[in-house]
């Protein structure tokens, strides 16, 4: 319209209702995305229902809460079977705990170095290296635990067996560290540069900027990184099975062999008759694992969301 003509502008009502190509594509994409999203949820629910239905028989009959969680007697194949998983829980907890003690400071430190101090080629090289580490299959880590760590521990500490909490904790730490580093680095990178600049303009040194401004700002992302690392360690099976010694024990030192929940399922499920009590118990363990991992991931997720709200 020409300037200065002062003619009132009219709107064609038919145009507002027209289903044009862009409108159709938009609706179509909405449907496709909806199906995709829904199917993810359906799968998860389906798996949960399957695991629960296989384990429910045990839960509603032989299951005794105090024995299940309070006893270390895991004798599923004896004539008079007992199902105490305390030692298995202790095994998983001790291995995951040690892994986190080792991996958390290392990962956060590595993330700080990559995000805040390394520059150019060093940074790119480190990121590729970390991603490569994350891609190593767990059976390879288990192999490293068996054939390298095992003799190393025996020799260094003069203990009879090297397949124990220490071995599997170190292996698990190495496995969890790359994921934690990557996520922690993302969290640090998400802190806007204007914050760093503002703080440095005030005369803060690089370390002060990192500790007083960047880390507090990235706090939620860092906690989420750690929780996902815990989830990773908790759910890991093969490497732990190979490196932990797989013997039922309440560990009193890092040189004790232990058995993890996940490893128990992996090792025993193949030898049980489908539908037997032993089979059902293993699925009950599955429910437990599922719930714990679910809670860990949900917490991590909520924490990350918390960051966005602010």
């Amino acid at each position: 319209m020409m300037i200065g003509t002062n003619r009132p502008q009219s709107i064609d009502p038919a145009k507002l209702d027209r289903r044009d190509a862009a409108w159709l594509v938009d609706k179509l994409v909405q449907v496709v995305v909806f199906i995709g999203g829904i199917s993810g949820i359906i799968f998860i629910i389906g798996i949960f229902v399957f695991v629960t239905s296989e384990g429910i028989g045990f839960l509603t009959s032989t299951f005794k809460f105090t024995e299940f969680f309070g006893s270390i007697q895991w004798r599923p194949t004896s004539n008079n079977p007992t199902y105490g998983i305390l030692a298995l829980i202790a095994g998983t907890a001790s291995v995951t705990g040690l892994a986190m003690i080792l991996a958390v400071p290392f990962s956060i430190g590595a993330a700080i170095f990559i995000a805040e101090f390394a520059s150019g080629k060093v940074r790119e090289a480190l990121k590729i290296l970390v991603e490569l580490l994350a891609a190593i299959p767990s059976v390879v880590w288990g192999f490293i635990g068996l054939s390298i760590m095992n003799p190393l521990i025996i020799e260094t500490f003069g203990v009879p067996i090297g397949l124990n909490v220490l071995n599997s904790g170190v292996i698990l730490g190495l496995m969890a560290a790359p994921i934690m580093t990557t996520i922690a680095e993302d969290a640090l990178k998400a802190v806007p540069d204007t914050y760093r600049e503002a703080a440095e303009a005030m005369g803060a040194t690089r370390w002060q900027v990192v500790f007083r401004v960047v880390l507090p700002a990235a706090k939620n992302g860092l906690v989420a990184a750690i929780l996902l690392g815990v989830g990773r360690g908790f759910g890991e099976t093969m490497a732990v099975l190979m490196a932990s010694g797989h013997s039922i024990n309440l560990p009193t030192s890092v040189f004790d062999s232990v058995r993890a929940l996940t490893a128990t399922i992996a090792a025993e499920l193949g030898e049980t008759a489908v539908g037997s009590e032993h089979y059902q118990v293993l699925f009950t363990l599955g429910i437990l694992l599922f719930l714990v991992t679910f809670v860990i991931n949900l917490t991590a997720d909520l924490i990350v969301k918390g960051v966005r709200k602010k």
Binding site: A198, E200, A201, M202, G203, R212
Partner: protein, 260 residues
Amino acid sequence: MVGATESPNQATKLEVRDLSIYYGDQPALQNINLTVREHEIFGIIGPANSGKTSFLRVLNRMEMFVPSMKVKGQILFGGRDISKWRNVYALRRLIGVVFPLPVGLPLSIYDNVSLSPRLAGIRKRADLDIIVEKCLRRAALWDEVKDRLNSLGSLLSGGQQQRLTIARALSQNPQLLLLDEFSIAVDPVTTMRIEDVLKELKKEITIILVTNLVQQARRLADRTAFFLSGRCVEIGETEQMFSGKTEDPQTQAYLEGRFG
């Protein structure tokens, strides 16, 4: 206003000699020579892209953040060449900066203002409380936030965040305060209150005020420099400049708003 601060032969706080700034090969500022006196408000006006922000940036050596930025010439702060100052952090602590777009750090309001004193080694809560209140009052923010000092600074409104950054700059107890278009996000009433504070402040410190509002320069600046396309066209007493006695017709044109 304190009479002594107006005398022309007062001490020099900042001296800039043959300063040129480049981004890569592109010059942003060329051959700037000027001095800023102690206890004055030195105004810098000029159209967009004239190099005002670039100038402020190099004064506390923030050019390090832009790898392509190169600086030639000398900047003497308190008589010392700042490029020979080994501890840049110590230099920056003497110079407070307020950016055009407010950067409320993602910390509580209290921590935003107490960060700098903490970095400088002040630990006692009581001392920090006093500094925080004083700086927030000066930035005309205290009354609005005194009941929620522990909530996040980045949740404040744009104008409040800008005043928070002013409070933060003041918390450094700086000798030189650099203000880059501070009123861009602040409402007119608050702007006036902050301007009053600046007039008070210059009894204690030196202020360089970059502004897009020529009337703000007129109200506040003792002397004013006019930057245009990377050159300093003119520096003069603000009163003279605004009473029509400009040396360069371009300055006159800009002041009257007849300018691209």
